[in-house]
Point group: D2
Chain length 79, copies 4
């Protein structure tokens, strides 16, 4: 868990938890990190699974250090 895949246009990672409540606890922490960094993910949830795509829109939807830093902080939440 927490392995990010970098493509041309985004950093992607899929996270899996025991159930929805655990997934939601994780999302609640990510939400704060995102707003604090003023850098918001595209993310999706179904039950125990959370998928996150990070991309820097201002730079034309490419991956920048802003994405890599947020990705690192998100991964630290689940380590």
């Amino acid at each position: 868990m927490g392995k990010w895949i970098e493509s041309e246009n985004n950093l992607y990672c899929s996270f899996e938890f025991n159930d929805f409540i655990e997934a939601w606890g994780f999302m609640s922490k990510v939400a704060i990190l995102a707003e604090k960094a003023n850098h918001h993910p595209e993310w999706k949830n179904v039950y125990n699974r959370v998928e996150i795509w990070l991309s820097t829109h201002d730079e034309g939807n490419v991956v920048t250090d802003k994405d890599r830093e947020l990705a690192k902080k998100i991964s630290e939440l689940v380590d």
Copy 2:
């Protein structure tokens, strides 16, 4: 806001808020409703936008009253 579109396989609705914090406040309420109903959405968020797809997996990914009831409760949150 809060107008659901029913297709063969799901109930879909897109919600738009002023900013991420407002979107997140809404999602935090939906999360509780979902777990309480033991019926979890497929949902996606980017900044101020929240998209929700409801479907009953146990019945073969069709729309049932379980979806319509949750949709109604979600819409009441933003009315």
Copy 3:
């Protein structure tokens, strides 16, 4: 962490986390458990600390099995 103290009128526990974000992730899970059980805590947060008091109001503010069950579920979140 997660050791509850039972007095005449409530079950009490204090939880400490690394920072506010970790405390908030925990609270976000407790909120769902509480609403799902239709049994709401009296709780307080300052930065990385969360204090919870459980009591059954309908029974005259005494500790009942409803409190003990919710306490158990809350403790499982941090184990």
Copy 4:
């Protein structure tokens, strides 16, 4: 709702909502504001009621502009 009382040591406000879910939606927004401002409240919740005390610990638990600014932002969430 949203009327703050300033004493020597803190800014205090009590908020009341329809139910726990509404109170929780509010708290979820306050949590983000607080972490973003790196200024965390002492706050308490029971069911539909949220009480918030703001104080600047670094300055010796007095009320400063940091508290007044966060109070203003919190009040705007419920206006």
